[in-house]
C-alpha cells in the first residue's frame, strides 16, 4: 500500500530531525577521535578539528611505549570493574532472593529497610568522614571498590521483583520437598532462571565502576598508583587548571608538573581509549540497558 502524501512528508520530516540530532550527538565523539590522531604541531597551531591536516598516531604510540602510568591506570580500572561487579551482582542476588519469598518473616520490614535508603541520604560529608576516619579506606584499594558502588538499593528491588514474578513458586516448593537446601535452591534455580536480570544489573554495575571518578577524587589523595583511568583524566584537568592559574613565576613543582602532563593530543587519545570498551560493547550494553531502564521505570 502506497503511503499517502501527508504521511510521506511526516516520515521525511521526522527522519531529518532525528538524523540531525544523531549527528549532533556523534560529531563531538568524532572530534575527540580526530583530535587524537592529528599531529601535535597541527593541534598547537590550528586547534582541535574534524579533519586531521597531518595524520599521526604518535599519541597512541606514546600511550603504549612510555605511558606506564596510563596503562597501569587502565589495568586498575579493569580490575575494579571486574571485582566490583562480581561482588555487586553476588550480594545483590543473595539479598534479593529472600526478599522475593512471599512468606519470609519480616518481609515488609526488610523491604522498607532497602527502600528507605532511596528516600533519605546522609550526603557526602558524613559518608566521607565515616569511610576515612572509622574505616581508614583512604589511599587503599577498598576506596575504589567499596563506597557507594558495591550495591544499589534500586537494583536489589529490581532483582527482587523479577525473582518474585518470573520464577514460579511451585519450583521452590518442589525443590524443598526434594530436600534441597536454600543454598542449592539459590545456586540451581534462582541464579540460572534469574540470569537476564542479573546480567542487566551487572551491566549497570560494570558501567558504574568503569565510569566512576568520584571515589578516586575523594579517597585517593596520595597513592596515585591506585588511580583508575577516569581519575587520571580528571587529575590532568586539575593539573592544567592549576598551571593556568599560576603562570607567572613557575615554581619547580609546577615546571615538573608541566613536563609530566601529556600533550594535548595524548590527552584526547587517553579519553578515546577510555571510551573504547563502551564503544565495542555498545550493542550488548544497549540491549541490557534498555531492558533495565524500562523495567525500572515501571517499578
Amino acid at each position: 500500500m502506497a503511503l499517502r502524501k501527508k504521511d510521506r512528508v511526516y516520515q521525511i520530516v521526522t527522519n531529518v530531525i532525528m538524523a540531525v540530532w544523531s549527528l549532533f550527538i556523534i560529531l563531538p565523539f568524532v572530534l575527540l577521535l580526530m583530535s587524537s590522531i592529528t599531529d601535535e604541531s597541527v593541534l598547537l597551531t590550528k586547534g582541535y578539528g574534524f579533519i586531521p591536516e597531518k595524520f599521526s598516531l604518535a599519541a597512541y604510540s606514546y600511550i603504549f611505549k612510555s605511558g606506564d602510568k596510563i596503562l597501569s591506570a587502565y589495568a586498575h580500572t579493569v580490575l575494579y570493574t571486574v571485582v566490583g561487579t562480581f561482588i555487586n551482582v553476588l550480594i545483590t542476588a543473595l539479598f534479593a532472593y529472600p526478599l522475593s519469598l512471599k512468606n519470609l518473616p519480616g518481609r515488609k520490614v526488610w523491604n522498607f529497610y532497602v527502600f528507605f535508603t532511596m528516600l533519605f541520604s546522609g550526603g557526602l560529608i558524613p559518608s566521607y568522614m565515616m569511610w576515612s576516619t572509622t574505616f581508614h579506606i583512604k589511599d587503599t584499594v577498598f576506596a575504589q571498590i567499596v563506597p557507594t558502588l558495591l550495591m544499589s538499593a534500586m537494583n536489589v528491588l529490581l532483582v527482587r521483583t523479577y525473582f518474585s514474578t518470573s520464577i514460579p513458586d511451585a519450583l521452590f516448593e518442589a525443590a524443598q520437598i526434594d530436600g534441597a537446601s536454600q543454598l542449592t535452591i539459590f545456586r540451581c534455580i534462582v541464579i540460572p532462571l534469574g540470569k537476564p536480570i542479573l546480567v542487566t544489573v551487572g551491566t549497570f554495575s560494570a558501567l558504574g565502576y568503569w565510569n566512576d571518578w568520584t571515589n578516586g577524587l575523594y579517597y585517593i589523595t596520595k597513592a596515585t598508583n591506585l588511580f583508575g583511568i577516569q581519575n587520571l583524566l580528571n587529575r590532568m584537568v586539575s593539573d592544567l587548571q592549576f598551571l593556568s592559574q599560576n603562570t607567572s613565576g613557575l615554581s619547580t613543582d609546577a615546571t615538573q608538573m608541566l613536563a609530566q602532563t601529556p600533550t594535548t593530543g595524548v590527552q584526547m587519545a587517553i579519553a578515546f581509549v577510555a571510551i573504547l570498551p563502551i564503544l565495542i560493547l555498545f550493542p550488548f550494553l544497549q540491549k541490557y540497558y534498555s531492558k533495565g531502564i524500562s523495567l525500572g521505570a515501571v517499578k
Partner: protein
C-alpha cells in the same frame, strides 16, 4: 502445667521456624550490612552539622557548636546562590528532558524506516553511557580557549573574535543545559518509547477511521496514555530537585573559579568545602539542609503521585 507445655510447644515451633529461615537470613547478611554501613550510619552522621568538625576526633568526638555553622552559612550569599542555581537548572532539565523526550519518542515510534529507527535509538543512548570526565574533555575540545574548535575554526569563519569561554559566566547556563540534554535525553526517551509501544494499535485505527489527524491522535491518545509514566518521572525528578549532578557541574566547567556564580550548586559547594577550602562547617550545614529538604520533597512528590495515580506511587 498446661501452660508450660504450651510454652514448650511454642518454643520448639519457634526453633523449627528459626532453623528453617536461618540460611535465608544468612544470605541477607552481606547486603544488609552494606546498607547499614554505606547508607544508614551516614544518616546519623548528619549531626556533624551541629558540631565543630575535627577530623582527628571523627563525627562522635567532635565538640558540639549549636547552630553556629548555619549562622555562618546564612550570613554569606552562598546559600542563596547555590540553592538558586541548583533549583533553576533542575527546573530547566526537567522541562527540556520531558518535552524533547516525548517528542523524540513519538518520532522514533512512528518512523517506519527500521535501520534509521535503530540508529536514532542507539545515538540517543550512547552519550548516556559516558562518564562526565569524558564529556568534560569533549566540551574542552570545543571550547578550549587556546585549542578549541570554537575559537580556532568556527568563530574565525564567522568573523567573530575568540571568546574566553572558561572565564565568561554568561555562556555557561546555555552550555550546561545543552550538555545535560545532549547526554541525558536518552534515558527518559527510552522509557517513553516503551510506554508508547504499549498503547493498543486499535485506538489509533479507530481514530484514523474517524478522520483524526496526527496531531489530534497524539493529543488525544498518545499523551493521555503515557501520562502516568510522565507524571512519575517528573515527580521523581522534583523529589530530587535539591540534588545536582556533581559530574555535570564539576567536570564541564572544569572547576573554573570565575564561573562559580553560574555553575556552583549545592553538591559542588559541599565538595569544595570538604576538600579544598577547609570551611567544612558550612559545608556540613549545607549537606544537612540538602538531606532534610530533599527528604521532605521526596515524600511530598510521592504523596502527590499517590493522589493522581496510585499505581505509580512508590509507597
Amino acid at each position: 502445667m498446661t501452660k508450660d507445655i504450651a510454652k514448650a510447644k511454642a518454643n520448639s515451633q519457634l526453633k523449627a521456624r528459626l532453623l528453617k529461615w536461618t540460611p535465608v537470613y544468612l544470605m541477607m547478611v552481606p547486603g544488609a550490612l552494606y546498607l547499614l554501613i554505606n547508607n544508614y550510619i551516614p544518616m546519623f552522621g548528619l549531626v556533624i552539622a551541629f558540631k565543630q568538625v575535627d577530623f582527628q576526633k571523627g563525627i562522635l568526638g567532635s565538640p558540639w557548636c549549636g547552630l553556629q555553622n548555619f549562622q555562618f552559612l546564612f550570613q554569606t550569599r552562598d546559600a542563596f546562590v547555590i540553592t538558586r542555581n541548583t533549583i533553576l537548572y533542575n527546573v530547566c532539565f526537567i522541562l527540556l528532558n520531558t518535552i524533547i523526550g516525548i517528542i523524540f519518542a513519538i518520532f522514533i515510534c512512528d518512523i517506519t524506516w527500521k535501520i534509521g529507527k535503530k540508529i536514532y535509538q542507539s545515538a540517543l543512548l550512547f552519550p548516556y553511557l559516558m562518564s562526565w570526565v569524558i564529556v568534560g574533555y569533549i566540551i574542552y575540545a570545543i571550547f578550549s580557549m587556546q585549542y578549541g574548535i570554537a575559537n580556532k575554526t568556527i568563530l574565525p569563519m564567522l568573523g567573530i573574535n575568540p571568546v574566553m569561554w572558561y572565564n565568561t559566566p554568561k555562556y555557561w547556563p546555555a552550555i550546561l543545559i545543552i550538555t545535560n540534554t545532549w547526554k541525558g535525553i536518552g534515558y527518559g526517551c527510552l522509557i517513553y518509547i516503551s510506554s508508547i509501544n504499549g498503547i493498543e494499535a486499535s485506538y489509533y485505527e479507530a481514530a484514523e477511521l474517524d478522520g483524526a489527524n496526527k496531531l489530534q491522535q497524539v493529543w488525544n491518545i498518545t499523551i493521555p496514555e503515557i501520562l502516568p509514566s510522565v507524571i512519575t518521572l517528573t515527580l521523581l525528578s522534583i523529589g530530587r530537585i535539591f540534588y545536582s549532578d556533581f559530574g555535570l557541574f564539576y567536570q564541564i566547567p572544569r572547576d573554573s573559579g570565575l564561573l562559580y556564580s553560574v555553575t556552583d550548586t549545592i553538591d559542588t559547594y559541599v565538595y569544595r568545602g570538604l576538600m579544598k577550602l577547609g570551611n567544612i562547617g558550612m559545608s556540613s550545614a549545607v549537606g544537612f539542609y540538602q538531606s532534610i529538604v530533599g527528604f521532605i520533597l521526596v515524600l511530598f512528590s510521592n504523596w502527590v503521585v499517590g493522589k493522581i495515580s496510585p499505581d505509580n506511587a512508590l509507597f
